[in-house]
């Protein structure tokens, strides 16, 4: 896999965020489109002749993908009336394309005005909730803020009275991967107990969520070569029906082969658990190229984790070549 610079990753996230905001309220599934686009961009990066994807390389990829407005408006300009579920496609539409385009444009303007009108009330609502739960702070990314009430246990005690989520947007450097992007959603959840900043969440969308989803990042292995590295992260869970959360780390060779791997497979986190520290230790051989790590989830429920994970080294196990 290619290495992405922080600048390139940040640019990609900004681009995807713009697309998501423009798609919200439209007929397409904004989260699905953003994930598809993210995978398209990552795939383009994989096809690149460059080993490192930097800002310049990413700009070329995004140029081919199209500007956010172009991406978000594509289906609307076709005439939204063609997309009625169960509609009779054999009946030709008689309105000229210009009418459909005008209607779509009107819809966009209406949505924008409605958003502007609603925004102060949403902020007031959030402020009110904030006063009731001073430990929470306003989340970032007002466009897709969502509030959820999370109750815990039979006592009905509010574990996380009001948490504000930003769906589909992850901190810089982090991205969603796994075998199933349809049944799981990810994003940031605002500040939480025991976590240093905005928490990241992975949540099942379906009661029959299959496969797994992970939020992960990759870093160059250079500074860790020949050492033992310990990954430490804070995870909180509310999992049901055998759902599992696992901290994981993998050491990759230049050809992509795994030189080391631990995913807490024999000690997964299950059920409802408070924020707690977990760790994994692996040796980083001298030929290592990358370290990939993150949190994965299988089954149903929600997993939160602190993206401010620590990678600490201890003891030389191997001497880097040439030293």
């Amino acid at each position: 896999m290619k290495t992405w610079t922080e600048d390139a990753t940040a640019q990609m996230e900004r681009y995807l965020r713009q697309v998501q905001v423009l798609l919200e309220g439209g007929g397409a599934d904004a989260r699905e489109v953003v994930e598809d686009l993210r995978n398209h961009i990552l795939q383009q990066g994989e096809m690149s002749a460059h080993v490192v994807i930097n800002g310049d390389e990413l700009r070329q990829i995004l140029q081919r993908a199209g500007c956010p407005e172009e991406v978000a408006s594509s289906w609307k300009e076709l005439g939204a009336e063609s997309w009625e579920v169960g509609g009779d496609i054999s009946t030709p539409k008689t309105e000229p394309p210009g009418v459909a385009r005008l209607a779509a444009g009107h819809g966009l303007k209406t949505a924008a005005i409605a958003l502007l009108i609603a925004l102060p009330f949403v902020l007031l609502f959030l402020y009110g909730m904030n006063r009731a739960t001073p430990e929470d702070k306003l989340g970032q990314g007002g466009e897709s803020i969502r509030t959820d009430r999370v109750e815990s246990g039979a006592s009905g005690e509010t574990a996380r009275a009001m948490q504000r989520e930003t769906l589909g947007i992850l901190p810089q450097g982090w991205f969603q991967a796994g075998t199933n992007h349809v049944d799981y959603e990810t994003g940031t959840a605002g500040e939480m107990d025991e976590m240093t900043g905005d928490a990241v969440f992975i949540r099942s969308r379906s009661a029959t969520a299959g496969g797994f989803s992970t939020v992960m990042r990759e870093i160059p292995a250079a500074q860790f070569r020949g050492k033992n590295v310990t990954l430490a992260g804070t995870i909180e869970t509310d999992l049901t029906d055998g759902g599992k959360a696992q901290l994981w780390m993998r050491i990759d060779a230049p050809d992509g082969a795994a030189l080391g791997f631990d995913n807490m497979g024999n000690r997964p986190i299950m059920g409802k658990t408070p924020a707690k520290g977990y760790s994994i230790s692996l040796d980083v051989p001298v030929q290592s190229e990358r370290i990939a790590y993150g949190v994965l989830m299988t089954g149903t429920g929600t997993t939160w984790f602190d993206p401010a994970m620590k990678l600490e080294t201890s003891g030389f196990r191997e001497k880097p070549s040439g030293s």
Binding site: M1, V19, L23, G26, G27, A28, D29, E32, V33, D36, L37, R38, N39, H40, L42, Q43, E46, R64, A65, G66, C67, E70, V71, A72, S73, S74, W75, E77, L78, W83, V85, I89, S90, P92, P97, R101, A177, G178, T179, N180, H181, V182, G211, G256
Partner: protein
């Protein structure tokens, strides 16, 4: 060449109107990886569409039941999403192709001097 009629706008609308049919015609042949589908569409002469603008369409076509999608993990990059036609999608594809064939044939007939009483 400047004309009183905006041919560029007309061509843009024509291309966009045919995009769903192009997608259905590709997917009707075989299950196809989304990235490959996008690449084939953007390389189609005359279609001239940005790669990213196809994903909202695919999402819509999946939501209304024309396409189904499945994910497959890849060892060389992000998980791959494969698209296939649903039964409704296949009916839609056949109906749209009939419309296209009739229309294209009619226009060709007009160009050949047909259509006169």
């Amino acid at each position: 060449m400047e004309t009183p009629f905006n041919v560029d706008n007309w061509a843009t609308q024509l291309r966009k109107g045919l995009l769903e049919l192009c997608i259905l015609n590709i997917v009707a042949q075989e299950e196809v990886y989304g990235y490959d589908l996008v690449k084939r569409l953007t390389e189609l002469p005359g279609l001239g569409i940005a790669e990213g603008s196809i994903y909202p369409l695919l999402s819509r076509m999946r939501k209304v039941g024309l396409l189904r999608a499945r994910l497959e993990e890849s060892s060389t990059g992000p998980a791959r999403k494969y698209y296939a036609l649903t039964e409704d999608g296949r009916k839609c594809w056949q109906t749209m192709n009939r419309h296209w064939d009739g229309l294209a044939g009619g226009i060709q007939g007009l160009r050949n001097g047909g259509g006169k009483p």
